[in-house]
Symmetry: C2
Subunit: 136 residues, 2 copies
DNA sequence: GGATACTTTAAAATCATTCTAAATAGATTG
DNA sequence: CAATCTATTTAGAATGATTTTAAAGTATCC
């Protein structure tokens, strides 16, 4: 059973053309759970499912989704750009050994004081990264 | 007037061999103010000062300094690894247009509640990045 | 000073990502 | 529905940051 219909609605609303590739990737990403993906990891997943798709297409698609506001870019980890399907303001645990990201429930962190911004600037986003490693 | 003596002490304490290149870079980095550098930016600065040094040496040196605890790695910005001479726990403004980082005074941020860590993990470090852009 | 181990170096290799140019496939219009 | 227009896909080349390699150089220890 596919999300096809939801994905199609979503792409239409975002003003993106309905291509097979975008629908397929949309179905993968926007299921029940929030996901963190890189172009590479997503491409591997797609190949495992028996579909052929150029790596460049995966990059294009992720960037288009991001531009359309369907994905959020997360702090790069080990030089790899990670996209997050969770658009709400939230923070991450980063496993420094594996590069794996885990969402931190928003309610568990609160930033009491915020510094004043530099003159003439506005905040685009904010992200707390808690780097964790296996206990020694 | 050079920091030579301080740098030499620092390298010795860190158990690093005293090479011309490390002393030169040490002098550049550990002056009065805290600095954010990438291998590339540091290499350019060195060339401007009329010194020749292989880019790979700059990479090696930064990594050695980092391993020895003299530098902190900061969240990568646009795929570029940035090293910070400020080892204290602190946060950054990131100018999304230029990639420039600015320290946020520690006292200006406080994280009220901290989430509990995943089982069997310990915190290595923590960093809040506030992405800012010129006001529209 | 000479042996030994670590560093530096230039160049090649690697890895993630982007670009290119041609082929393909949505969208639009008559 | 066909013709046309334009965006997208694709394979492969190109780019840019970083790492590796192997050889030459240099700090350290005896």
């Amino acid at each position: 059973m596919s999300d096809n219909q939801n994905t199609i609605e979503m792409l239409k609303k975002a003003g993106l053309r309905l291509t097979k590739q975008r629908i397929f990737i949309g179905d993968l990403l926007f299921g029940s759970k929030h996901k963190h993906v890189s172009a590479e990891s997503l491409h591997k997943q797609i190949e495992k499912l028996g579909k052929k798709m150029a790596l460049a297409t995966v990059y294009n698609c992720l960037h288009h989704f991001h531009k359309a506001g369907l994905l959020k870019k997360v702090n790069a980890v080990n030089d790899i750009i990670i996209f997050d399907t969770n658009l709400c303001y939230h923070h991450h645990f980063l496993n420094v050994d594996t590069g794996e990201l885990t969402d931190i429930d928003e309610s568990n962190v609160s930033i009491a004081e915020l510094p004043s911004l530099p003159e003439g600037f506005e905040t685009e986003s904010m992200e707390l990264t808690i780097r964790v490693k296996p206990q020694t």
